[in-house]
Symmetry: C2
Subunit: 349 residues, 2 copies
C-alpha cells in the first residue's frame, strides 16, 4: 500500500501524504468537496459564509454533492460555460468573491469531452488571492477522464485537489484516489479506523490500491503520444461520420480542447437509445450519456446546457475510442448508423 | 450484479431491493446508521428528537459514526454491558424511550468474540413498540464477524438492518453489503449516480459484488457444522494455553456466547505487542486488537470496558481460528508464548 502511495505521489508530483485511496471517482469527488468544506467548518468557518463555484455540466457525483452542500447551508454558484462547455478565465474572475472557498470542475467533461484550461483558471484564482489578502480559494479538479490523455501533475496544473478513478484509466473498478497538496486539509466523510491518514476508514483494499497505482503510472508515462495518436483517429472519424450522416451535429469543441478519445454526436429527431441497441447488436459499444447520469433514458443535461436545444439533447450518441480503435472500425459504425437513420426517417415520414 | 443481489437476498431472507453493495463493512455501518437517521430527518424528524442506543465496545466504524451523530445533534446513549460484553434484554428495556429511533450493536464483538442474543433484544424492542403506539425502533446489527459462524437471516434475527464485510468471510477486500427489510428506509450518505437503488452511487464493482455474494452464500450454507467443529478446537486450545501460561486471563465469555473462532487472552504485565512480533517470527499470525482500533499500540478499549483493569487491557492477545486450525497448531503457539513469558518475566524481575 505504501509503495503504491509513493508511486501515485511521484506520478502526480506531490508528497505520499497527499494521496488517499478511495473506492471510486464518485467517492473521491464527495471526499474532496465535502471533506474540504468540513475541514473549514471544523476550523470555525460557518457554512453560510462559504461559497462554492461549479458548472451545470459536471458529473452527477459533483452535482449531487452540490445539493448536499446546499442542504448544509453552503452557497453554491453555477458558472456559465460557452457553447462548447468551456469555463473562461473572465467568467471565473467575475464570479470570485471574499466568500469563495472552493472551485470544483471536471478537467474533461465525461459526455462531450470538453477539456478545461485548468492552469489558466488556477492563475485567475491565485491573482484574486493576491489582490484580496486573507482569501484562500482551493481548486478541485475531477480528473476521472484525464489520466490516459492529459497531464495530471498537480503542481503543473496548480490544482489543490484532484479526483481520480481507476476503472477509467485501465485500472480496476472499485478504486479511486484523491490527491491534495501540502497546504490543503480535508476531513473524513466516512467514520471509523485511522486508515489513510485518518481521512478514509476501512480495511485497505490492497489489490485495488496496487491496481490503480499501476494504471495511473502507465497512463501518465505516455499520455502525450497516446493522445496525439488517438485524436488523429478521432478527427478523421468525426469527419467520416458527419459525411455519412447529414443530420449529425457534433457536441463539444474540436481540436486540443476536446478529450482525445471522445466523440459525441446528436442525431436530432432520432431515437439514439434505440441506435445504441442496434449498434450493440452489430458488436459496437456506444452510449447516449454517462452511466452515472442514468444512461438509460431522457435528455442529456450537458448537451441541453451547451446548446439550449431539446431535440439535440434528446438524441445524443457518445462513442469513445481506445488506443486500438482504427478508422476502419468507424466505417462499420458509419454504415450501421446510416442504415439506422434511413430506416428511422422512413418510419417517421 | 442483479444475480449476485438475488443470491445475497436469498441468503439473508429478504427481497433483492433490500440489498445494497458497498465498499466495506465500515461503509456499510456508516450507511446503515447515518442513512437511517438521514431518512428520518428527510421525513421531518429533528435530530434533537432522536436517540440512538449503542455500547462502548463497538467497532470503530460504529463508535466514530456515533460521534458524527452527536455533531448532528442526535442523542447517543451508551448501554452498559456485562463483564463478558453482553447487552441484556433488561438493560435494553430500561433504556428505551419515546425518543429512541435506532439500536446499533455488533452481532459478535471483533476483539473478544461476545455474541449478542440479537433475537431476544429484537423481541424487547417489538414489545416496547407495541406498548408505546407510534414508536418505531430500528435494530441495526453489525454482522461483519458473523457469516461463517452464526445465522444471518434477517427475519429470523428480527433485525431491521444488517452490515456485512466480504473480506471477513472469505470474500474479497473492498466489498460490503447493507441489508434491510421492507419497511426500512435509508438515505444515501455519498452523492452521485442512481446506482444501487439510489442508495449508493458509483460504478458497480462487479468482481467485488460477485465475490461477496459467493462468500456469503458459502459461509451461510454450512455455518452450523463449521461453528461446531471450530468451537471444539477453540475450547481445547483455550484450556491448553491457560495451562501453559499461568498468568493468562481469558477475555469474553465461554461456550455458545463466544464466536466459534475467537480466543482473546490477557497476559497482565507483559508486552503483548512484542509477543505478536515474536509469534510472527515463528510463523504465527496474531494481533492485540482490531486493526481498525489501531492494532499498533495502546490499550484495548473493549477489554477495559469489560474488566475495568488497565493492566489487562494493555496486554491483550487475539488469536483467531480458521476451519483448518488444529489443536497441534496451538502446541506451537503455547510453546512460543511460554518461552516469551519466561523471558519477559525474567527481564522485569
Amino acid at each position: 500500500v505504501e509503495a503504491a502511495r509513493a508511486r501515485v505521489a511521484t506520478t502526480l508530483g506531490i508528497r505520499p501524504e497527499g494521496v488517499v485511496f478511495t473506492s471510486s471517482g464518485t467517492e473521491s469527488n464527495n471526499l474532496a468537496i465535502l471533506g474540504y468544506v468540513r475541514s473549514l467548518a471544523a476550523r470555525g468557518r460557518r457554512c453560510e459564509d462559504m461559497t462554492v463555484l461549479t458548472t451545470a455540466i459536471e458529473h452527477s457525483s459533483t452535482l449531487e454533492t452540490m445539493n448536499e452542500l446546499r442542504r448544509l447551508g453552503v452557497m453554491v454558484e453555477v458558472l456559465p460555460v460557452t457553447h462548447e462547455g468551456i469555463v473562461t478565465a473572465a467568467t471565473l474572475k467575475a464570479a470570485l468573491t471574499q466568500g469563495t472557498v472552493l472551485v470544483t470542475l471536471a478537467y474533461a467533461n465525461s459526455e462531450v469531452g470538453t477539456v478545461q484550461a485548468v492552469h489558466a483558471l488556477a492563475r485567475t484564482l491565485r491573482a484574486f488571492e493576491r489582490s484580496s489578502p486573507g482569501t484562500r480559494i482551493a481548486l478541485h479538479v475531477d480528473a476521472a477522464q484525464a489520466p490516459l490523455w492529459l497531464p495530471c501533475d498537480l503542481p503543473r496544473l496548480d490544482a489543490d485537489l484532484l479526483s481520480l478513478d481507476g476503472g477509467k484509466c485501465g485500472g480496476p473498478k472499485g478504486s479511486g484516489v484523491i490527491a491534495f497538496r501540502k497546504d490543503v486539509e480535508i476531513s473524513p466523510i466516512l467514520f471509523g479506523g485511522g486508515q489513510e491518514g485518518g481521512k478514509r476508514p476501512g480495511t485497505e483494499n490492497v489489490a485495488a490500491i496496487v491496481g490503480i497505482a499501476e494504471a495511473l503510472s502507465l497512463a501518465q508515462a505516455s499520455y502525450e503520444e497516446r493522445a496525439r495518436k488517438v485524436s488523429r483517429v478521432r478527427d478523421a472519424a468525426i469527419a467520416r461520420l458527419c459525411a455519412a450522416l447529414p443530420e449529425a451535429v457534433l457536441n463539444g469543441p474540436m481540436g486540443e480542447e476536446r478529450l482525445a478519445n471522445n466523440i459525441n454526436l446528436s442525431l436530432p429527431g432520432l431515437d439514439t437509445e434505440y441506435a445504441v441497441v442496434v449498434l450493440d447488436t452489430a458488436g459496437i459499444a456506444a452510449s447516449t450519456k454517462s452511466a452515472c447520469a442514468g444512461a438509460g433514458g431522457g435528455e442529456s443535461a450537458v448537451v441541453l446546457t451547451l446548446s439550449g436545444d431539446a431535440a439535440r439533447s434528446r438524441s445524443t450518441l457518445r462513442l469513445t475510442l481506445g488506443e486500438e480503435t482504427s478508422l476502419t472500425d468507424f466505417d462499420r459504425v458509419g454504415a450501421v448508423l446510416q442504415e439506422f437513420c434511413i430506416r428511422q426517417s422512413g418510419l417517421t415520414q
